[in-house]
């Protein structure tokens, strides 16, 4: 199993009492809540944290893209990747660019090629559809999300692999001259990973024999991770091949403390701020019409009555496995078990979440790098 230190770069200085006046940290939370002086400090702090993880021996570091919210301050991930490219050694995973949100996907082909060239082939290229709320923030039509994702992907891969110029004629994009300079460093193109919350359409697409893209389940209860990774493996079998562990991964927040009790006490306010303040969205933001296929939307409608609402506690998050929290031994044991039962090839540790301060984040990175990764690497994994 390989380990990536993942970061969301939240606006950790958020005034959490915003919920007295606003319903979400996304789309409509006024940007007067953002202080650029604090933001300057946060960006540099977060870059330090990722560089530190790279120095301590993670296999790679990971970043992503979000727009117009306090949850993640990387609307242009290429800027962050550029800042990290020359000061890190491991993989640089951009997980990912939201393809349907851009009107010219060639800019993503270019941006990823640049990172791949600067890093000498350390880029992992993530493609996502973006969070539903971002279709509000970007005013992009969610009912074309799947179509645009598919077409933008096809265009980017062709722009990476075919000698240009060529004419791209599609439904959503038409470019007379596609001729990507620079071409990607890795041949035929950087590895493509597909992070998702568990869309069946996305899993079927990623597992297809002509793609075999690594599928990442993002922040989810363990039962859901198992369900969707199994779905991926089943789709691979249907497509006539057996998926390897390297084709599946999971991203989860992790906190490693001295003891289980101290870890829980230290992580509690910060993971609860993550779950209840930073991730706070209305159903209409999460699922704008058309973002899900009609079959998926109808399934959500039917499941609604059984969904538990209300704020999440750290105990619920630990119980469901959404948060991995405890002493190094506890975290090691849980990850070893997850590796075995989930068949994981990649684990992305979110070591800063919500309001977790810098010093606690650095200790968390250290403990994970020193007391979890080497021991798990040393064992021979037994997967289901």
């Amino acid at each position: 199993m390989k380990f990536i230190a993942f970061h969301l770069m939240p606006y950790a200085d958020l005034d959490l009492s915003y919920t007295d006046r606003y319903e979400s940290a996304w789309v409509t939370l006024p940007n007067s809540y953002y202080d650029p002086v604090k933001g300057h400090a946060l960006y540099n702090r977060y870059l330090d944290e990722l560089e530190y993880a790279d120095q301590l021996g993670f296999d790679g570091i990971g970043i992503n893209e979000h727009h117009q919210n306090a949850y993640g301050l990387m609307p242009t991930p290429g800027v962050i990747a550029g800042a990290l490219a020359r000061r890190t050694r491991g993989s640089l995973a951009v997980l990912g660019r939201a393809l349907p949100l851009v009107n010219n996907p060639c800019v993503i082909a270019e941006e990823f090629s640049m990172i791949d060239n600067i890093t000498g082939g350390r880029l992992i290229a993530g493609f996502v559809r973006g969070i539903g709320a971002e279709y509000h923030s970007w005013n992009m039509n969610p009912a074309f999300s799947h179509e645009r994702f598919g077409e933008a992907h096809d265009l980017i891969v062709r722009a990476w692999t075919e000698t240009g110029p060529f004419h791209w004629r599609g439904k959503h994009y038409d470019f007379r001259y596609v001729n990507t300079w620079p071409r990607p460093y890795q041949q035929p193109h950087p590895p493509i990973w597909i992070p998702s919350q568990g869309s069946r359409e996305t899993i079927v697409w990623a597992a297809a024999a002509e793609r075999k893209y690594t599928y990442l389940q993002t922040y989810s209860p363990v039962a859901a991770v198992k369900k969707f990774l199994d779905m991926y493996r089943e789709e691979a079998q249907k497509a006539g091949y057996t998926a390897t562990p390297e084709q599946v991964g999971w991203m989860a927040p992790v906190f490693v403390g001295e003891t289980d009790a101290s870890a829980r006490a230290e992580a509690q306010p910060h993971i609860e701020s993550f779950a209840n303040k930073f991730l706070r969205m209305t159903p209409e933001m999460v699922r704008p019409p058309g973002y899900l296929s009609l079959a998926s939307a109808n399934a959500v409608l039917e499941a609604k009555s059984s969904q538990a609402g209300g704020a999440r506690t750290i105990d619920q998050l630990i119980e469901s496995g959404q948060l991995i929290c405890g002493s190094a031994a506890t975290v090691r044991d849980q990850l070893a078990e997850h590796e075995r039962t989930l068949g994981l090839g990649h684990f992305l540790a979110l070591l800063q979440f919500g309001t977790l301060p810098h010093e606690a984040t650095m200790r968390n990175i250290e403990r994970f790098a020193r007391d979890v990764i080497p021991q798990l690497r040393a064992r021979t994994p037994v997967t289901v």
Binding site: T28, M140, M285, G290, L301
Partner: protein, 258 residues
């Protein structure tokens, strides 16, 4: 206005490869009513009111309600072309073309393309032109908030299982054709002055979705259009005040389309 509901039926027609479900009842000149973001699950009081004087035809748009979803459906313009084919397929002539919300937008696009077989246009709290003042963002509202924004009296809002069950389908297709630009087409604003058809503009006085000032915008754009505001009605005056709505339509048609 007769209060006797003429017999209504639901039938399915195949037009442009699409199975279109159609409510129809009454007798008289054909009145084709194009619904807004939600298809009607059954015969409505306003349809019954109109059916005393008109042959009332209310299709579920392709991709909405009980109609099938054709692969060609991406824009309001697609639906305008479709309804031209629908009018031909049903052999309709001298049609009073009415539309509410996006249905009004479709009606405008159709009438600008081709006025053959059309007699008059009735726009009801219509989409299609940019708003001069923002209404609520219907895509951001919870179902409860949307009902409150749409009706002056929420008891007028349908909440039956059949209606709720088809809402994801209706919402998806509404987003597909109207998400961006939000409920309008800049081309329509440029060319609506070319419309050559008598037009009645009906608007709920308390419409919070498309505020009533929008009625003036349509009236200014369409040469000779007549405007009728409906009291005690929000975004769906035909649902909230069926008699007043039907009376306004009848007066317009019988009054010589002036």
């Amino acid at each position: 206005m007769s209060s006797v509901a003429a017999a209504a039926s639901r039938s399915t027609h195949t037009v442009e490869g699409t199975q279109v479900s159609v409510l129809r009842g009454g007798s008289g000149p054909p009145l084709l009513f194009l619904h807004g973001s939600d298809a009607f699950t059954d015969w409505q009081p306003f349809m019954a009111e109109l059916a005393g004087r008109f042959d009332v035809i209310v299709p579920d748009h392709p991709g909405f309600g009980q109609s099938s979803t054709p692969p060609w459906l991406d824009t309001i313009g697609d639906l305008a072309h479709f309804y031209r084919a629908f009018i031909e397929a049903l052999g309709l002539h001298d049609v009073i073309l009415a539309g509410h919300g996006i249905g009004g937008w479709i009606a405008c696009e159709l009438a600008l393309r081709d006025t053959r077989d059309l007699r008059a246009l009735v726009l009801v709290d219509a989409a299609g032109l940019p708003l001069t003042e923002d209404g609520v963002d219907t895509f951001m509202l919870s179902p409860e908030a949307l009902r409150k924004a749409s009706y002056t009296d929420v008891s007028h809002a349908p909440t039956d299982d059949a209606f709720l069950a088809q809402q994801p389908k209706n919402a998806l297709m509404t987003a597909r054709v109207a998400w961006c630009p939000r409920f309008y087409d800049p081309q329509l604003a440029k060319w609506l002055h070319r419309l050559r058809l008598p037009a009645l503009i009906v608007w709920g006085e308390q419409d919070a979705v498309f505020p009533p000032r929008q009625a003036e915008t349509f009236a200014a754009a369409i040469p000779g259009a007549r405007t009728q505001l409906v009291a005690a009605a929000g975004h769906l005056p035909h649902v909230e005040q069926p008699q007043a709505f039907a009376a306004a339509v009848a007066a317009f048609i019988q009054g010589g389309l002036k």
